[in-house]
Symmetry: C2
Subunit: 405 residues, 2 copies
């Protein structure tokens, strides 16, 4: 008997028939004698429907009321999932975030979990009931409903797994696990049996959409081992866990492509101390997250700063930069949205040299130009022309023989 936290995403509970399938899967695990806490998201589409209604009534709905509204999505699925379990003879009870004792800070629409009081839930577990918990939501100290923002249901599952000391956490989604590359782009991409937290984090920040970084960070911090797998089949998924020595034998674990970045070039500024600081302070004050940064110093003490920002933030970035240009000796801002970031990730890079050279050579052989380069201990990222992104992913995947286990 194990204690397992399972999490089912919005497509897995998308309608009554799918909820029935989820109930069967839960029942099968229950019949094996496991204790189960099940976290469910809102039905796919519900959140967008609710936001559309909200915006029809108020151009900028208040975050507090938005949370009050959006929380009903999961409250529907917890009750329906509990009923589906009753329908197949499994004792089950549903919990809203508040009822499950998920206490958060007061930052509506992107709250952070502070503590979980799992006592009431433990009582039901001990009574042999499957406990169904609403993902994505919590309650603050004032009794206000909060939501956790994007990827919030994964976070709920991982935080609950830590709180109830689960033996295992299973994240059910609409993909089979984590792949060496996006299988829609790279045909011979291979599903990974396991991956380290750090690799998963680098992939998440590099455009892989399997999971949000903060859920992985939370899992890493509390040592929650979790498996990403599909709710539509019974294939084993990918286990995400602390790095172990044998993982380092593999130089590159995977390849990711991010097309949602834009390249910003601030050119012809004075190359003197403090110029770069002023530029990035202005961006930080405007809440623009900057990713790759390169500074070129040209002739006559003139420098160019190049960096990437999320495409959705280019307007904010431009606005923030205009007043700074005078302070740094004039200059221009140019924005290129038609780029892509290609990243290769692997803990083996720590102990293997020549990874960057191999990547650059492979891209050069394919005549793909590199515009920017940045590296971390376990990742190399390059910015390239967006039109060549898929090809570059295939080239990198082949260069490191990722199709072979």
């Amino acid at each position: 008997m194990a204690r397992i936290v399972q999490k089912y995403g919005g497509t897995s509970v998308g309608d009554v028939e799918r909820i029935k399938k989820v109930a069967e899967r839960i029942k099968a695990s229950r019949d094996e004698g496991n204790e189960l806490v099940v976290v469910v998201s809102a039905r796919a589409g519900v959140t967008n429907e609710l936001i559309a209604r909200a915006k029809a009534l108020c151009a900028e709905p208040s975050d507090r009321e938005l949370d009050q509204l959006l929380a009903i999505g999961e409250q529907e699925t917890i009750a329906l999932t509990a009923m589906a379990l009753h329908g197949v003879g499994v004792d089950a009870v549903s919990y809203t975030g508040a009822q499950a004792g998920i206490f958060t800070d007061a930052v509506h629409t992107k709250a952070k979990i502070k503590t979980i009081n799992a006592q009431p839930l433990e009582k039901d577990l001990k009574a042999g009931r499957v406990v169904i918990v609403a993902g994505f939501q919590g309650i603050n100290d004032d009794g206000q409903i909060t939501t956790l923002g994007r990827g919030g249901s994964d976070l709920t599952a991982i935080a609950l797994a830590a709180a109830v000391k689960a033996d295992k956490c299973e994240i059910y989604t609409d993909v089979d696990g984590v792949y060496t590359a996006d299988p829609r782009v790279v045909k011979n991409a291979r599903k990974l049996n396991e991956i380290s937290y750090d690799e998963m984090l680098e992939l998440a920040s590099s455009g892989s959409k399997v999971m949000q970084s903060r859920s992985v960070e939370f899992a890493k911090k509390y040592g929650v081992v979790f498996e990403v797998r599909s709710s539509f089949n019974h294939n084993p998924g990918t286990t995400v866990k602390e790095e172990v020595e044998y993982m380092e034998k593999v130089v590159v674990r995977g390849v990711a492509v991010d097309k949602d970045q834009a390249k910003v070039i601030v050119s012809n500024i004075l190359d003197k101390p403090g110029s770069a600081a002023k530029v990035f302070r202005a961006l930080a004050d405007a809440n623009v997250v900057v990713d790759m940064i390169v500074q070129n110093v040209g002739r006559h003490g003139i420098a160019n700063l190049t960096f990437t920002v999320p495409q959705t933030d280019t307007g904010k970035a431009q606005k923030a930069l205009v007043p700074v240009l005078d302070e740094v000796g004039g200059g221009q801002v140019a924005i290129h949205e038609h780029i892509a970031k290609l990243s290769v990730v692997g803990v083996g890079m720590k102990t293997h040299s020549g990874v960057a050279a191999s990547l650059f050579q492979a891209l050069a052989n394919a005549n793909i130009n590199i515009e920017l380069i940045s590296t971390s201990e376990i990742k190399i990222s390059v910015v390239i022309d967006q039109d060549r992104a898929e090809e570059a992913a295939r080239v990198a995947h082949a260069a490191f023989s990722l199709d072979q286990a």
Copy 2:
């Protein structure tokens, strides 16, 4: 400046456009300087949709999970109504039943309100905010969500009006108020300006669908004066309040027809002490509510018992009666569903005689046969053939000149 509780039913908040209209109405009252607590129901149709989904998953959904599910209907409308108010520049904040401190007993799907802790709500009122409260729902001592059953949102409004000592409670619905008869049946039915709690109660139990009895009972108990009016126009509605002397000048306030009753005849039982008790004990044990009762004693110590029960309960009634028949000396059970109950109601009956005679004469003149009669201090009810029900309502309405103020 007055403190007002307003309640808007499901059709009044049926979609985004109607919610906007409700927001305008609230704003108008706010602009007059009133303090407002607004109770809203779920959008019309949502509750049935949710129940359909529940039943697709489980033939008999648990009451606890049903409450967890149904409560989202109002949680949606409170948030949307608050947003709609923000959209027109009115400060507003939404409260679920739990947040509004509406504590109930633990009887899921038909909970009773025990206490209301209006303190948090008072704080927002004092800060000048319109407070939007979810109708129909509460929380029990264990933190479980409960719902109040049919007419629950009216009850929430009236209970809140008592708790916050409101000057006025306005129940907005899709009719203009309480009429002397159903205007769809009696063309010259007249809207009443006011009516006493007792008259309203008798009408509610006689087939008038304007409001459930228990909300009126609650209002009577706590002396909450309320007005029933339409959210689709600005006509004054009907004020329901404690009986005052001048009300007794009107002998008959209104006429109601109930077609949802069935007549049960238990015939040929022994006319000895305890027979009737056994019959009605069996029905009570089966949770069948019995309304009109008549006993005829025939020859040779043989009696017939005739009474009415809700049509939905005839199966239960028959099942409950079978084992009793032997105990009361044999006999048969016959059920007639094709009946209607016609009632005339008025506090003036207490001091005026001849009302029954006038009613019977009017029906006789129209050749409408009376099958059963029952009376209370302020009501006379007769059972007639269902096919003559509308005609009988018009005849009674005319007999007491109810079209004239």
